[in-house]
Structure formats: C-alpha cells, structure tokens
C-alpha cells in the first residue's frame, strides 16, 4: 500500500513488479532508514569489491599504450578504446593456440563428463535395482579419502597418458558430488511417469532421453556449468602431465604472461618497439579467461538453488 501512496502519479498496474518490494506483511515493522541505508551500503560495497578489480582489468586491456603510460600503469577511467591488444593476441601465435586448446578441451571434456555422469546417475536412481547400493557406496566412499598426488601421478604415467590431452580429461572426468546431485534430482521424478513409459514399451535409454532428461533441464544446466568451469579453469594437470609448451591451455599461458611477466611468444618485438603495451596484452589475456565464465554463469544462476537444493544440501 505504502509503495503506491508514495507515487500517486504512477499507475499501479504499470509498475515493474520485479524492482518493487512485494507487500509487507502487516505484522512486520517498517525498516528504519538507518537500517535500510546500512544494508544497501554493505551490499554495494561487497559488489564493488568484486566488480572494481574486473573493471580495471577490462579498461586497461582496451587502452592504448599512450593512455597506459599516462596513467602510470593500470587505467581506471577509459579514455580511448582500442582493440589492438586483442587483435594481436588473436592473430595466431601462442595465445590464439592456447585459447583454441582450452575451448576444445572444455567442450570435449564436458560432453564426456556429462554423458558418463548422467548415465551413472540414472542407473543409480531407480531404487531396488540390482547392486545399486554397492555402487553407491563405492562412490560415496571416495569422498572420505584421496589416494594422493604421487600415486595418481604414477598411474597417469603408467597408463601412457603423459603428453596427451586425455591426461587433462580422464583423471578429472567424474565428480562424485555432481553424480549425487544429478541422482538426487532424478529420484524426485515421479515413478508413475517412468512406469507408464515402460508399459508403453520404452527401454531405460529411451526413458532417460525422452522423459527424465527433459524434466531435469535445471539440474543438467547447473552440472554442465560446473564441469565446463572445471575444465576451463584447470591448469595443474597440464603443468604436471604436459611437457610440450605448445600444447599448454590458456590458464597455463596466463601463468607465464601475467604472473611471471613474460612477453607472449611472437609479440615481444611489438612490445619492445612500443607499438603495444605489455600491460594491455596481459589484461587482454585475463579478459579472455574470464569472459566465457562471466557471460555464461548468470544464465544458469536461476537454476542454482533448484539444482543445489535437491542434492547438495542433503548430501
């Protein structure tokens, strides 16, 4: 009521409901102005602490050499926007190759992980099936121990996966946690629905593909994001199992360029002669690493709680 009275000119029906507060229950006291301001301030500060560093990185990556020199380093206020750093990085060479490798490993790995995980989660979701409790126990037990870095390293070496992209995918392909979240969701699907499909002659693969998966879009989106981010962000296995520098994915190249401040192969000359700012190149690499994640994750966000609620909280 108060919200409408505050703005007599605005027709109530035309107000955007999503921005305005829902009606306050009668028993709830009005927030004090100080309380509301304090809450807003904390929230804004928390968001700024996350967004401000990203702003600097993006703006610097888009700045010319002159602007960067003038600012004495990182740029906070954009002056002249130029994409020269991106053009240089994406015109072939080390960073282009690393980005392509990262995209391919992420796509192939995510597809593989999702296939294996969804099949396993469905296979374990029909209660009463033969052996499913033993299989489940075998998965759950892995959450209590880890075999250790050295034995895993020796295993990957023995399997002959060293210097192969399989070493970036297979050892981390299955996440028990993700399987359990998927399984929790699949178990919530009504048994009558599945039984009636079975009576109509559908096999388990068909039931999974045509009934269970379409009903589980939310959790499938969340788990796909989890796997994809895992592959995109991974660098340790590449540093451990790949020896050839030309095979390295984007994250490992970022370690060299940004952390160790090396010039990207092939661009060193352009930076030395002053055409290109080394700092802008570094920031551009960082933007390339964060952009896919920053663009995709908000779309999946609305499913997080639905997906997490069923499986994660209750383990």
């Amino acid at each position: 009521m108060t919200a409408v009275l505050d703005e007599p000119g605005a027709a109530p029906a035309r107000r955007d409901r999503r921005w305005s507060a829902p009606p306050r229950p009668v028993w709830e006291e009005k927030p004090t102005p100080a309380g509301a301001a304090g809450k807003g301030l904390v929230l804004v500060l928390a968001c700024l602490a996350i967004l401000f560093p990203l702003w600097i990185v993006v703006v610097t990556s888009l700045s010319s050499r002159g602007t960067i020199d003038e600012a004495g380093g990182l740029v906070m206020v954009p002056r002249d926007i130029t994409f020269v750093a991106y053009e240089e990085l994406l015109s072939g060479g080390q960073v282009t190759r690393a980005a392509v490798i990262s995209v391919l490993v992420t796509l192939v790995g995510t597809l593989f992980s999702m296939t294996v995980s969804v099949l396993c989660a469905y296979g374990l979701s029909r209660s009463g099936s033969l052996g499913h409790r033993w299989f489940l126990l075998m998965l759950l037990a892995t959450m209590f121990f880890s075999a250790g870095l050295i034995p895993t390293y020796l295993l990957v070496q023995t399997l002959g996966l060293t210097d192969s992209y399989l070493a970036l995918i297979l050892p981390s392909a299955v996440s028990v946690f993700n399987i359990l979240v998927l399984r929790g969701f699949f178990m919530g699907i009504s048994q009558e629905l599945i039984d009636s499909a079975r009576i109509d002659g559908a096999g388990d693969f068909r039931i999974l593909w045509q009934i269970v998966m379409p009903l589980s879009r939310a959790v499938l989106a969340v788990i796909t994001l989890f796997y994809a981010v895992g592959y995109w962000s991974a660098w340790f296995n590449a540093s451990l199992y790949l020896n050839d520098q030309d095979m390295m994915p984007l994250q490992n190249v970022m370690i060299q360029l940004v952390q160790k401040q090396e010039a990207p192969v092939g661009l060193g000359q352009a930076i030395k002669t002053g055409e290109l700012s080394g700092l802008a190149v570094q920031m551009a690499v960082m933007v390339m690493a964060l952009l896919p994640v920053a663009v995709l994750s908000p779309f999946v966000q609305k499913h997080f709680r639905k997906g997490m609620l069923t499986g994660a909280v209750k383990g």
């Binding site: 921005w19 829902p22 904390v42 929230l43 928390a46 968001c47 996350i50 967004l51 560093p53 004495g72 990182l74 296939t115 294996v116 099949l119 396993c120 469905y122 296979g123 029909r126 209660s127 009463g128 099936s129 033969l130 052996g131 499913h132 409790r133 299989f135 075998m138 998965l139 892995t142 209590f144 075999a147 250790g148 870095l149 050295i150 034995p151 390293y153 020796l154 295993l155 070496q157 023995t158 002959g160 050892p171 178990m187 048994q191 039984d195 994001l225 962000s233 340790f236 952390q259 960082m286 994640v293 920053a294 994750s297 908000p298 966000q301 609305k302 997080f304 709680r305 909280v313 209750k314």
Partner: protein, 344 residues
C-alpha cells in the same frame, strides 16, 4: 521386453533415498516381501541396462580413485622413477626400505614447517572466512526486492567460477608491486608496497583471496536453508511481541544450525587441505618458508625433486590423518545431535 514387467521398487530397498518414490509407498511392500527375494539372475536380467549405464563412471572412479591407493606402496620404497616409463615395472624393481621414509619425514624441519603453515591457514580461514557467508546470506535474505536480490547474487557468485590463476592475477593488479594500490600510494608520495611477495602477511593474503572468490558462493546453501523456513513462524513470533532481532535469534538462526554444523564438520574433516592450487601458484613469489603446506610439500619433493618415496610417505601421512579427522568430525556431529555427512 519381458524383464520390464518385473517391478523394481521395493520400499525397504533404498534407505539412502532422501525422497521416497511415491508408488513404492503406495503399493503394499509387505506382501511382495513375503514372497522372498527374487533370484539374482532374474534381477540381473531386469536391471542389466541400468548396470550397464553405471559402468563407465564406476570404471573411471575405480581407475582414478581406487587403483592409485595401491601406488602408496612407494612410500615404503626407495622408488626409482628412471627404471621404466611404466610405474608398475619401477615399483616391482625398486627396493623396499621399510619405514625409512617416514623416519626421515618426522625428522625433517621442512615437514613440520608445512604442518604449522597448514594449521595456521586452516584456523585463520575458519575464523575469518567461515562467518562471512552466513552474514551475507542473512543480508541477502532480508532484501525483499526480487530484482535487487538477483543482481546482487549474480555479482557475488561470479568469482567462484574464476580460476585460481585469474584470481591471483587480479590480486596482483590490485596489491602487487605494480598494482593499483601501490600506484596510488606512489602518486601521493608514499612508497609502494608489494603484498603479493610478503611472507609475513601471506596467510592473510590467502584468506583474503579465498573470501573474494568463494564467500559469495558460500551463501547459496544458507539461502536454501532460509527459504525453507515457514513464514508462519515469523508471524507467530511477531504476534508474541518478538522484534526483528529476536526473530532472527529465535527463528532464523535455529533454522541455519544444521547447515552450519554440517559445513563445519566438512571443513574440519578437510582441515589439512588448504587451497593447494592457490598456494602452489604463489609459492615461488613468497618462498616456501611461509607458503609451504602439506600438499605443496608433497608436490615439491615428488614432482620437482623426483623423491617419490619420500613424497608419497608425506602424502600418506596426510591422507591417514585426514581420514581420521573426517570420521572424528562426523562422530562429534552425531554426538551433538546433528546429522553430519553420513547417517549413523
């Protein structure tokens, strides 16, 4: 499809299922049970497709989670990686040395330094990190405008999806020797400072990075718990004269208690694992004195120094102590009347 006519659901079959399948409850399970268990052969014929579906994932888990356990025998060996490319051949041909590796570890001051650093980081994160998601969740939960809430959540969740490489690079741009902070200090006539290479403040730096990356994501579990609190409870409390703080204390916090307990149990059980990738990336910049933790100790001795037996022994010590911690933490949770990770 003959096997498809045999019903799978038995009410007593799956106690781990949190959401009982409705039809399983509806059909009287007692009668079917009186007929006795079906033979394994019939059940296998009926469920073979389901078993087939689970196999690829189970095979991967078996290969990469269980098989390497056997590799821990190198902890009792003077393992020579140069015997063969094949680890099994090397293990078979390496001499056993009994507990020598463990004796060396317990006499190694670098190991105890790693233990100390690990525990310092664990406690620091427990005190400085753990409460923040709870407070943030209470704050977000009190925001009633849906759009404001969604935007705030989107921003707060974002860094969780960044890689550690990126997070550390971002911190370098803020607090490194050439970072924005030093830049501002120098512009105003002060000396710049480089937090990224300072061993004295390293533990706080690690904690700050963890908070920046994951504190926002941490609220998700608490928000889920908060959304399941019935509004009737708040109304009843308000009718009885409880103001907003009393309602938070007597309604909201009890609702969060099981989740907080569960997360504490998980954290304590995982106490010896403190951000391996995050610390490894900064080990060179800060030096091992301040940054070596148990996981990086294993990495340094095994992968870098090729002293596999020694590193595996250190990893085994960590693994066994961790397993003990997980089980103990669960025990404590059960004693406190909470559910813990697994049921009693």
């Amino acid at each position: 499809m003959s096997h498809s006519t045999v019903p799978r659901s038995r009410p007593e079959a799956d106690t781990t299922a949190k959401t009982p399948v409705p039809s399983a409850d509806a059909t009287g399970g007692g009668k079917r049970r009186a007929k006795g268990e079906r033979s394994i052969g019939v059940r296998f014929r009926r469920d073979r497709v389901l078993i087939l579906m689970t196999l690829p994932a189970l095979a991967l888990v078996l290969l990469f989670n269980y098989v390497p356990i056997l590799g821990n025998v190198v902890a009792f060996q003077e393992y020579d990686p140069y015997i063969s490319e094949n680890g099994v051949v090397s293990i078979v041909n390496s001499p056993f040395v009994g507990l020598e590796n463990f004796e060396r570890i317990f006499a190694d001051s670098a190991f105890w330094n790693a233990v100390r650093n690990t525990l310092v980081l664990f406690f620091l994160q427990l005190v400085l990190f753990f409460p923040i998601p709870v407070l943030l969740a209470l704050l977000i939960n009190s925001v009633v405008r849906p759009r404001v809430r969604a935007v705030a959540q989107a921003v707060l969740y974002l860094p969780h999806f960044f890689s550690w490489v990126l997070v550390i690079a971002v911190f370098q741009q803020l607090f490194g020797g050439a970072g924005i902070f030093s830049q501002l200090l120098r512009e105003h006539g002060y000396d710049g400072l480089d937090v990224m290479t300072d061993p004295n403040t390293f533990a706080f730096l690690i904690t700050a990075q963890s908070v920046w990356k994951d504190a926002g994501w941490g609220i998700i579990v608490f928000l889920a718990a908060l959304s399941s609190v019935s509004p009737d409870l708040y109304e009843a409390a308000a009718m009885d004269g409880a103001n907003r703080w009393r309602r938070m204390w007597h309604v909201t916090l009890p609702a969060l208690r099981p989740v907080i307990a569960l997360l504490l149990v998980l954290r304590v059980g995982d106490a010896l694992t403190v951000g391996f990738e995050q610390i490894l990336l900064q080990r060179d910049a800060v030096g091992p004195g301040a940054s070596e933790v148990l996981d990086t100790f294993v990495w340094w001795n095994g992968v870098r120094n090729q002293d596999f037996g020694y590193a595996a022994a250190a990893g085994l010590v960590k693994g066994v102590v961790s397993l003990g911690l997980v089980l103990a933490a669960n025990k404590v949770a059960h004693l406190m009347g909470e559910q813990g990770v697994y049921k009693k």
